[in-house]
């Protein structure tokens, strides 16, 4: 399972380990700046139908430099997805601003793609038509959109499945199709909300590798939400740890593992990987335990770890 097209950009970049803090080794040019994502003091409150207000996010600040792969980890219900919908312009912060390329987000920014947790392929359209949707919506001619969709299906290894409907594909294949649909418009920003959460471990590893390979081609800025820390460290240049709800940024870690990283299954044994993983986990564990204790209490047990409550 690998890509059948030559990948032009990887060779020259493999030499220099990228400093994530500096915003990546990608050459800084004008269009690159459009893909800088900035969250400043972002707070989001929801009002429930009964009138009770709930704060999902409080004073979230972080920056994703152009071309950077940023993973956001945090316990369940810490507002990770809410953060993403605000960057996508699907929702607005109650206070604070989200800036993309220096401009405040007040609608769906052009050149942003979003990959949802559940696959959002339209079940009544064939795989090919699904991939061609983005270009079609942006006014590309049908022939040209379908032609490019065909190419992208080839890139993600789905040639021959053009006329299948989504329900006829396996979970991994659907993810590939979604990936093709997200990347066909060559976004400068790619937002991913636990995209591989529903996949089995092996398929997830394969998809992670493919994602990295594809990302290297055009280097969009990525915000990748997950609660799998290993996945975050293996993929990202920067890992943002969020607190248990109301979510706020607890710590930001720069991952200085060299790129291209190669197979994510193997980098897990790298000593630097383990060191980073260990450090971030120290920080994340507290939050996970706090979130767990909260749900535990409502369920009647006040334990923190799996067997932590036992003396």
């Amino acid at each position: 399972m690998s890509f059948r097209q030559p990948l032009p950009r990887t060779a020259d970049e493999s030499a220099a380990p990228r400093s994530a803090a500096a915003g990546g080794a990608a050459p800084a040019s004008a269009p690159q700046d459009r893909s800088r994502i900035e969250l400043v003091g972002v707070t989001k409150r929801f009002v429930s139908p009964t009138g009770a207000a709930m704060t999902a996010l409080r004073d979230v600040d972080f920056v994703v430099e152009p071309g950077q792969f940023c993973a956001v980890v945090g316990p369940t219900g810490c507002g990770k997805s809410t953060t993403l919908t605000m960057v996508a312009g699907l929702d607005r912060p109650t206070a604070g601003v989200v800036r993309v390329g220096g401009a405040v987000v007040d609608g769906i920014p052009d050149s942003t793609s979003f990959m949802f947790q559940h696959d959002a392929l339209l079940p009544w359209k064939s795989v090919l038509q699904n991939v061609a949707l983005g270009p079609r919506f942006r006014g590309e001619s049908k022939a040209s959109a379908l032609g490019r969709a065909r190419e992208w299906l080839h890139v993600v290894g789905l040639s021959g499945f053009e006329d299948h409907h989504p329900h006829q594909l396996s979970g991994g294949m659907r993810k590939r199709a979604t990936l093709a649909a997200s990347l066909i418009s060559e976004p400068s920003i790619l937002l991913m909300d636990e995209p591989f959460g529903a996949l089995d471990v092996q398929t997830k590893a394969i998809m992670s590798n493919e994602l990295l390979t594809l990302w290297e081609r055009t280097r969009p800025s990525v915000i990748f939400i997950t609660h799998d820390l290993e996945e975050a460290v293996a993929l990202a240049d920067r890992v943002v740890v969020m607190t248990a709800g109301p979510g706020t940024v607890k710590a930001v870690y720069d991952i200085d593992l060299p790129r291209p990283r190669g197979a994510v299954q193997e980098i897990r044994f790298d000593s630097r990987f383990l060191e980073l993983h260990q450090r971030i986990w120290e920080s994340l564990r507290e939050e996970v335990e706090r979130a767990y204790a909260r749900t535990g209490r409502t369920a009647g047990t006040a334990t923190t770890g799996t067997e932590g409550g036992r003396p």
């Binding site: 559940h118 959002a120 079940p123 409907h165």
Partner: protein
């Protein structure tokens, strides 16, 4: 566990295996053949039982009325119904040829069905998409829905006369509410994820409706069409009952006035045939439109 008992176990196992193998060979072809035979046998059984039920009911009816145990004057007679149909085909009804009557009723039902479905889908999608409109118009629609709408037929005959228009309108009104409520519900049940996704992909409002909202509501709308077509025929027939110059409803009401149960049953039979063929067409349409759905075929076959 000692050696002897293990041997014993092995022997019994072999014996069991030999027994189960003996009656039929276990290769794939013969298993498939056996399964096919079972399916075929069941089909034949179902069909023949159906035929038996039909023979008993119709035959019993004929027998009882023949023997005057049941009065054929009130209850009609299968043979009488057949004769009546033959008579209509050969000599026409009191209002012109039989085909004309069927044609008029069908035309009214189909036009009513088309208008009602169209209006129902348009208004259902509009209200489903625009919550403000739904909040404003919702109560009015509920009140209208609470009226026994058949009664509207009288008003329509007063307004529009004995021609086909009043029947088309009645059929359309009956169809409208069924389709409307389903379209409305269907639009509101659209998967939010899908809508968010196409919006991020750059879809305009109209494109969202066309590519996401409508196709997903189609599942609901199609389901309502089966019921809606029944309502269209009811609308046309009742409209003709209330006052008409032609149509199967008029034929039935004339038969009623003449104390001619055979005539009523014959017209009923014709309507049933028409309705069943329409139902078949709608099922075809359903299959076509919902071919993307997993398991649609089996659902249809199951009905």
């Amino acid at each position: 566990m000692n050696e002897a008992s293990t041997m014993g176990d092995a022997r019994t196992l072999a014996a069991i295996r030999a027994q189960s193998v003996q009656p039929a060979s276990t290769d794939e072809a013969s298993i498939a053949e056996a399964a096919r035979r079972r399916v075929r046998r069941r089909k034949v059984l179902v069909q023949s039982t159906r035929l038996a039920v039909l023979v008993v009911v119709v035959g019993g009816w004929q027998l009882f009325t023949d023997r005057k145990i049941v009065d054929p004057f009130f209850f009609g007679q299968p043979s009488g119904i057949v004769l009546k149909l033959v008579d209509w085909v050969e000599h026409g009804t009191a209002y012109g040829s039989l085909w004309l009557q069927i044609g008029v009723t069908m035309k009214e039902a189909l036009l009513g069905f088309a208008y009602g479905t169209g209006a129902g889908i348009v208004l259902g999608v509009l209200l489903g998409q625009i919550p403000f409109l739904a909040d404003v118009i919702g109560p009015f629609i509920k009140v209208l829905n609470a009226i026994p709408r058949i009664v509207l037929g009288s008003i329509f005959v007063v307004w529009l006369g004995f021609g086909t228009t009043s029947k088309v309108l009645l059929a359309a009104v009956l169809v409208f509410f069924v389709v409307f409520f389903n379209a409305f519900q269907g639009v509101r049940e659209v998967d939010r994820n899908l809508v968010a996704n196409v919006r991020v992909l750059g879809a305009s409002r109209a494109q969202t409706v066309r590519h996401v909202v409508l196709p997903s509501a189609v599942v609901w709308i199609i389901a309502s069409l089966h019921v809606a077509f029944g309502f269209a025929i009811i609308g046309a027939i009742v409209g003709e009952f209330l006052g008409a110059q032609q149509g199967l409803g008029l034929v039935i009401s004339t038969a009623q006035n003449n104390f001619d149960p055979n005539g009523i049953f014959a017209a009923m039979l014709l309507i049933a045939v028409v309705a069943l063929s329409a139902e078949g067409l709608i099922s075809q349409l359903e299959k076509r439109l919902l071919s993307w759905r997993p398991g649609t075929q089996t659902e249809v076959a199951g009905l």
